[in-house]
């Protein structure tokens, strides 16, 4: 017997069946409100001597005043640039000598600032966190620097096809008046005009305890957590009013192909999608499961088709971006230039197919058992637990959300999936965005007749002939 045969001979042909499942519960947590209205969520998890503190403020990009795109990002990042008591260098140095890498940023719906730190340093880190949230100084020079850094990022985007494709997709999908049509961190026109006054004004309106949430997750008790919250943020005051989410009006109601030129690109970046659903939509779970079958997993239809059957790409996936307003649905991939049109056709065919026929019981069970099963794996770290609890706050989810999540996933039926596909995927409204080499991809895309073909430069200027 050869070596290879000897190896095969000892293999067990019978795939093992699972042992009985071990019950799992999301970490217990307490929600309390300070006198100033700040919501505090404490989730004691004593696995390792670490804790995460995450402050969520209702100051995301969608709360910016008109014409001030980018101010939310500059305000969040500006928190780390200094306080009334010390400059940015000293502030970050103090954090880091505690071993705490402090971060500040945000998304469409919230600004967040936080740290993960060894338990021994939690109190000191929180004290600094309170200082930068309550007394930021936004030094003029650092504001100018952050603005220049954002403009530098925007400049670099012109040769970065993935980021460029994402931005162009948003622009071609949403009505220009919707905030979602424009870059989350602001485009060059508004960012260049942002001043320190804009940031201070935004900070004064949006950075308020009523409407904000402090999450403490990790090696900390509920009592300790509440005491620390009161000590560090108890003096904060005021209310941030909830803003209406950005408009969900589309840029166009019929399908079109948008070709953004990138000369000599060896691949095309593809984004195919349309406006999706707000996080609060009652079809959240059916839509999540439907997308898992379509393009949410490695073993999903879009990836198995484009990667494993056709070898057009390294990876292809789809997803709904869940926001307070209706974020986009988008299928994304990067394919070799000469198969760009065929790849776009395959994505469109998969979207048609999941609407036309019921998914199989096998596909449904793969999606639901995956989504339910990975749930505990997603929440191994204090940072992940804190972020999950922050989402609970940001999207007004019920307190038993995590305890009922797996039941909600398992309750989704084949009929639910089909209904979600029929109602929330719109083949005629899909915008097909291609960032690639026009000399290679334009003619085949035109021949495929997916819709009118529009052409743009890397700066987004319409150059359709």
């Amino acid at each position: 017997m050869s070596g290879a045969e000897a190896r095969r001979a000892v293999l067990s042909p019978v795939r093992p069946t699972p042992a009985p499942p071990v019950p799992y519960r999301f970490p217990r947590f307490e929600i309390a409100y300070l006198d100033n209205g700040l919501r505090v969520i404490v989730a004691p998890v004593h696995k390792l001597p670490v804790a995460t503190a995450l402050l969520l403020v209702d100051a995301g990009a969608s709360t910016e005043p008109a014409g001030r795109d980018g101010v939310a990002n500059l305000a969040a990042r500006g928190l780390l640039e200094g306080t009334m008591r010390r400059g940015g260098n000293e502030l970050t140095e103090r954090f880091e000598r505690l071993g705490a890498g402090v971060f500040a940023g945000g998304d469409w719906d919230s600004a967040d600032v936080g740290v993960t730190v060894l338990t021994a340093h939690l109190e000191a880190a929180l004290s600094l966190l309170g200082e930068l949230v309550l007394e930021p100084s936004f030094p003029e020079r650092d504001v100018a620097r952050l603005r220049a850094e954002r403009l530098a990022d925007l400049l670099q985007l012109r040769t970065e096809p993935r980021g460029l494709a994402d931005e162009m997709f948003a622009r071609f999908v949403y009505d220009p008046l919707s905030r979602y049509a424009r870059p989350e961190e602001g485009g060059p026109d508004t960012v260049a005009t942002l001043t320190r006054d804009d940031i201070v004004r935004f900070y004064r309106i949006r950075y308020r305890p009523r409407g904000s949430t402090l999450v403490l997750a990790g090696d900390v008790s509920v009592d300790e957590g509440l005491t620390l919250a009161r000590r560090t943020l108890g003096q904060w005051d005021g209310t941030a009013e909830r803003c209406a989410p950005p408009s969900e009006a589309p840029a166009r109601t019929t399908r079109a192909v948008h070709l953004v030129r990138k000369e000599d690109a060896p691949q095309s970046e593809l984004r195919i999608g349309h406006i999706g659903l707000p996080r609060s939509h009652p079809d959240y779970f059916p839509t999540l499961v439907m997308n898992a079958v379509l393009g949410g997993l490695f073993s999903s239809r879009i990836n198995l088709n484009l990667r494993e059957a056709h070898a057009y790409t390294y990876a292809a996936f789809s997803g709904f971006a869940w926001r307070r307003g209706a974020g986009p649905f988008v299928a994304s991939t990067a394919v070799e230039s000469d198969v760009t049109a065929q790849a776009a056709r395959e994505v469109l065919a998969e979207i048609d197919r999941i609407r036309a026929e019921p998914v199989s019981a096998d596909e449904l069970s793969l999606a639901t058992s995956y989504l339910g099963g990975v749930f505990p794996i997603k929440y191994e770290t204090t940072d992940a637990i804190a972020r999950a609890l922050a989402a609970l706050a940001a999207y007004d989810l019920p307190v038993d959300y995590f305890d009922t999540y797996r039941d909600a996933i398992r309750a989704v039926s084949i009929a639910d999936v089909q209904r979600a596909a029929e109602q929330h995927l719109h083949p005629d409204a899909l915008q097909v965005v291609v960032v690639g080499d026009a000399s290679e991809v334009k003619a085949p895309l035109a021949a495929m007749e997916l819709g009118p073909l529009l052409e743009y430069g890397a700066d987004g200027a319409d150059i359709t002939d």
Binding site: G3, A4, R7, R8, V10, L11, S12, P13, R15, P16, P18, A19, P20, P21, P23, Y24, V45, L48, P49, V50, L80, N89, T92, E93, E96, R97, L98, V102, L118, A148, E149, A152, D153, L155, T159, E160, R162, A265, P266, Q267, E269, F298, L304, E308, A311, Y312, Y314, V335, S365, L366, S369, Y370, G373, V374, F375, P376, I377, Y379, E380, T381
Partner: protein, 439 residues
């Protein structure tokens, strides 16, 4: 911070490490094979990585892509990765599915070859070529990960050539190559299996024995790598200028460094953190915040355990800053550190940040298992995991300064400098001057 560790060896040579943690009902399985791009033969660059893709294309009792499907259906996550000197495969699953993960790993360790077909190889070859286009060829600065080892290791050195490989070499890979590579390197006596998380040690040991214990050792010895040792410094200053489709210059300033695990490594790692980890690091403070030369600047090590490691400074210029100015300003910071040394406070800051990041990483069962595999595979000692924070804490100002004197000099610097190609929005004169300097 210590985690429980147990380790033993099966009669077929497979090293097993176990680390229990019952805080969540999940378990991580992680396999390291001591083979990476360094083991590729001439004309087959990229093969170790292509081979990793083939390990998801089925085996004796598993259909193509079924490994992915079975693990995801079980509610688990999985992947694999290829590095210069190792390849790993891993899954994290609900703890009642430990047997499934072990069975799948055993089936491909023992029965890969019957499932291999020309069509699967052709498909994965195209997938990998698209991975290369996606991560390197169509990404600004994307080729740095291939150019930097080429610039800093001699042509004959196993770390010199491209990990993702050339398109020509990928095209040349055959089913015979698959069979040979499998027989030579994918064998229990060239692997480490780690299990971390919620398991019963007696049951886990029994399952490991049941599924992997009977696999025979590999036949013949594993071909040794060419001599990996290198002198402590480059022996001069190296420089490569790459005109690319980019909007602003970016510099990778690299130093030859001691391998992971040595005392000097920890001093070098702390030095790297002083230079470029965190907002209060020297490069962030001086180049980003104070002088506004760079929009970002960090430093990191490759963490290689054989031959020689690399310490890399990665700095991206602000749009109005020339590539010459970027190079000069970064060099000035390095020279200042080499000449004047570091302070006690800087060492403390760096060690504190490293310690927090190390401890937080151990929250994840997958990370625990991967680190255990690393110490077992590369040092024959998984218990080293529990010594890491002490190794960092033991670093002193004197040792960092000694490292700086020995390793940061002009006799040990390699600059890989990306500049905007004329016509891509950069300053044409600057790009031409840079191309001239590249000769």
């Amino acid at each position: 911070m210590r985690i429980p560790i147990d380790s033993y060896r099966l009669s077929n040579g497979l090293v097993v490490t176990l680390s229990e943690d019952h805080t969540a009902p999940i378990v991580a399985v992680n396999l390291w094979y001591r083979v990476g791009s360094a083991n590729e033969r001439p004309g087959r660059t990229g093969f170790a990585h292509l081979f990793e893709h083939m390990l998801f294309q089925g085996s004796e009792h598993v259909a193509a892509n079924e490994h992915f499907e079975l693990i995801q259906r079980a509610g688990g996550t999985l992947n694999g990765s290829t590095w210069l000197d190792r390849t790993n495969y891993y899954e994290t699953v609900p703890s009642n599915e430990l047997a499934l993960a072990l069975w799948l790993e055993a089936d491909r360790m023992g029965g890969l070859l019957p499932a291999m077909t020309q069509q699967k190889l052709d498909t994965q070859r195209d997938v990998v070529k698209n991975e290369r286009r996606w991560s390197m060829d169509n990404q600004p600065y994307g080729t740095w990960s291939e150019r930097l080892p080429a610039l800093t290791y001699p042509p004959s050195h196993p770390f010199h050539h491209s990990l993702l490989g050339s398109m020509e070499d990928l095209s040349a890979a055959s089913l015979d190559d698959i069979a040979n590579f499998f027989a030579t390197y994918y064998r229990p006596d060239n692997a480490v299996l780690s299990i971390a998380g919620d398991f019963d040690p007696r049951e886990a040991r029994a399952l490991v024995e049941q599924y992997l214990g009977a696999l025979p050792r590999g036949e013949g010895s594993i071909p040794p790598l060419a001599d990996m040792r290198l002198s402590p410094t480059f022996g001069g200053t190296r420089r490569e200028v790459v005109p690319d489709m980019v909007m602003v210059p970016r510099l990778f300033l690299t130093f030859r460094a001691p391998v992971f695990g040595t005392d000097e490594y920890y001093a070098g790692s702390v030095l790297g953190a002083i230079l470029g980890l965190g907002k209060a690091s020297r490069l962030q403070r001086e180049l980003v915040r104070e002088r506004e030369i760079a929009s970002d600047a960090t430093a990191f090590t490759f963490d290689l355990t054989q031959g020689a490691d690399l310490l890399v400074i990665d700095a991206t210029a602000r749009p109005d800053v020339s590539s010459d100015a970027l190079e000069e300003e970064v060099a000035r910071e390095v020279t200042a550190l080499e000449r004047d040394g570091v302070t006690e406070a800087e060492v403390e800051r760096a060690v504190a940040l490293i310690e927090t990041s190390f401890v937080t990483s151990l929250q994840s069962a997958g990370e625990r298992a991967d680190k255990l595999s690393m110490f077992a595979a590369m040092f024959d000692d998984p218990f080293l995991l529990n010594e890491q924070t002490e190794r960092y804490s033991a670093v002193t100002v004197e040792r960092v300064n000694a490292f700086a004197r020995e390793r940061l000099g002009t006799d040990n610097r390699a600059s890989l400098l990306y500049v905007p190609k004329a016509g891509d929005g950069g300053l044409p004169n600057e790009a031409e001057a840079a191309s001239g300097a590249a000769r």
